[in-house]
Symmetry: C2
């Protein structure tokens, strides 16, 4: 996107099929607000609290074995293999590794994609621990508008853990998947005159029907759960996601930048995937999760919130969904829990976004990227073992001290 | 815009005819980014430089005589009469008055409307003083694409002072005015399929034809001049308006908030009216203008830039345009120069936006408002004499010390 005017073949514009095609997507992930309406997540007006550095160039040479491969790869090589736009590693609260590439720099903001869900889940879990949201409550007792939808008969916990039973497919590779119909309802642009379809997240959610299985039995990764959860926390608090994230997190964590969220045509923030934010600010969120809700000497939410998330969800329900790169894991309060030897858990988004928290190695990894495929199953083989290798490296370094 | 969902009769949405209707407009002016795509004017990542306070509650009781009235009015009463959303008065660099109302608070951003033009003009004047932009150059020597339009044969100075000769009407009250056709081209939303009209500012500007009079004879307040000037400064610098404002002004003036600009469907910022910003940040810009380009001990641009603007433009060309509330004034580098006894000059935008700089009283007034009518001729009678009354009050106070 350079030139005045930008040459036709370099232009990146609406519609989504253009701006999210590869390689244009590599630009788009840093420029979401230039393509659609958004709402600010304010950091407030105070001075940011700078992070401290203890950079370790040795990390670049850490090697690991990609899943399903018999060759080793270096950490440095994994960055370009994954189309990494930004990589931040925190160890014991200090930045040990930081790099920017592609469309991102330290002043930029990158699409968090479905990492947004984990922030929605975090807010919900905070409300649960504070006693303001009952996880056992049926959704229609909080949102009467959802009485006749699939969600009405589900519990808040089932929504939080995505074990609701829904007639809904979310195969991003299938152009006829429900997710794209949903996208149309979610579009912030004026609808064609005469359009009778649902307009906005709230209207769309009311149309969803229950599948034949019971709620609570199988994990099904469906963004609409996150939007229902966003609606739930807004009903309970009287505030929208951007206000809650600002008041609860951004204004209190020493953030360097405002974040923002995309909105539908009625101004409702996209709780399932709408956040864009700076790399180090996402690092602060990872640090909050690592540190039981504490940052810069301040307790932003109870340690119990992180404990609940870390404990994980129903492994059996998760196993039924068949995630090959995440075997033995679970999904709880919209966080991916690895249940590995390090007790790691993560926020994850398509095209390679992650906040990976490793409590044993006291490590947080934040990656923004723009991998050509949406599916993390293609990105995990050169990512998850790399994270574990760095965790081991940092643990060994600690022991040698 | 409250509730989950927001009741139908309270919803504020696209299209513009809805969101800019009164009273909905009173919300919209603080929420532009939630209705359309925007591009950030980054303040950078450093700590803001707080402004200092010397509040003076006496200002509320200052009285003045509205133009064309035989009754007096207090300053305080003038605020509600003008649907004021934010009012800031700086005296000798300190805040003596600050108030928020309507949709605005100190963390909010408000539409600057055509005050944007003055920032475009400021950037251009900086480039002129730096020798990077020749005001005598014909526009088509800088932008060959404009060769066959009205602008091609005009000089940069004529564009900067809006004395170009254009077949173009900008009567906001007339729904068939060119400004609305322009709006359609400028809309960031996908065009209906088959639409053959110009898409974006740059395409539209190329379609404009010269009127019968010569360039340089008459001042004609037409937003398209500002967009042409935005194009000119982008061609000359290789950077768009948001980058220039960030690098030259926002990152260096100790700003508290990022600003932003609306963009067309091709990502071009609206140089004629697209800025939204915080009240105190607009105050910092006013202070820069009062103080010859200096703020917080730093010289951001040469004093000569402000001198050039303050000197004003062609009073005869201005008089021909018949602005009753601004008799004897001129328009120069997209600033309104009063040529009054105080040497005041101003940035102005529809619905009552202003940065009013009074060098004699060492006073800057910034007002954000959402007056029902667009035309400042209806707002000036209770504004311009009020500003002069406060200037006198502050001068008297200085003398009494």
């Amino acid at each position: 996107m350079q030139g005045f005017p930008i040459p036709k073949d370099k232009l990146i514009m609406q519609p989504e099929s253009d701006f999210f095609s590869f390689p244009k997507m590599r630009w788009t992930v840093c420029h979401i607000r230039e393509l659609m309406p958004t709402k600010e997540i304010s950091r407030g007006l105070g001075a940011p609290v700078p992070m401290t550095y203890a950079l370790d160039s040795g990390i670049d040479t850490v090697t690991f074995q990609p899943l399903g491969s018999d060759k080793t790869m270096t950490w440095k090589a994994s960055l370009s293999a994954n189309y990494t736009d930004g990589m931040l590693i925190l160890h014991k609260g200090q930045i040990v590794y930081e790099t920017y590439s592609g469309c991102l720099n330290e002043r930029g903001k990158h699409a968090a994609m479905s990492m947004t869900k984990s922030l929605t889940g975090l807010l919900a879990e905070i409300l649960v621990v504070e006693g303001k949201l009952d996880p056992a409550a049926k959704v229609d007792t909080i949102i009467p508008e959802l009485k006749n939808s699939a969600f009405g008969s589900a519990t808040v916990r089932q929504v939080m853990d995505m074990t609701t039973s829904l007639k809904y497919s979310e195969d991003y590779a299938d152009p006829n998947a429900d997710i794209w119909v949903y996208s149309k309802a979610a579009s912030p642009f004026p609808k064609p005159s005469g359009d009778k379809g649902p307009n906005g997240y709230f209207e769309y959610l009311q149309t969803l029907k229950k599948d034949t299985i019971n709620h609570g039995e199988v994990f099904g990764y469906k963004t609409v759960n996150s939007d229902t959860l966003g609606w739930i926390i807004s009903k309970v608090t009287g505030k929208d996601m951007t206000s809650l994230l600002s008041e609860r997190i951004w204004m209190k964590m020493g953030a360097e930048q405002d974040g923002y969220m995309t909105v539908d045509a009625k101004g409702v923030p996209f709780a399932g995937g709408g956040i864009s934010a700076g790399l180090r600010d996402m690092g602060r969120i990872g640090q909050l999760m690592l540190n039981g809700g504490k940052i810069n000497g301040q307790q932003l939410f109870p340690n119990k919130v992180v404990e609940n998330i870390q404990a994980g969800g129903d492994k059996k329900a998760f196993a039924a969904a068949g995630y090959k790169t995440l075997e033995g894991g679970s999904y709880h309060s919209m966080w991916w829990v690895m249940h590995n030897q390090y007790g790691a858990f993560a926020a994850r988004g398509v095209h390679g976004q992650t906040i990976y928290v490793d409590p044993t190695a006291e490590m947080v990894i934040v990656r923004f990227s723009s991998f050509p495929s949406a599916a993390n199953s293609k990105i995990d083989p050169t990512s998850l073992p790399a994270y574990q290798a760095v965790a081991k490296y940092l643990l060994n370094k600690d022991r040698e001290k």
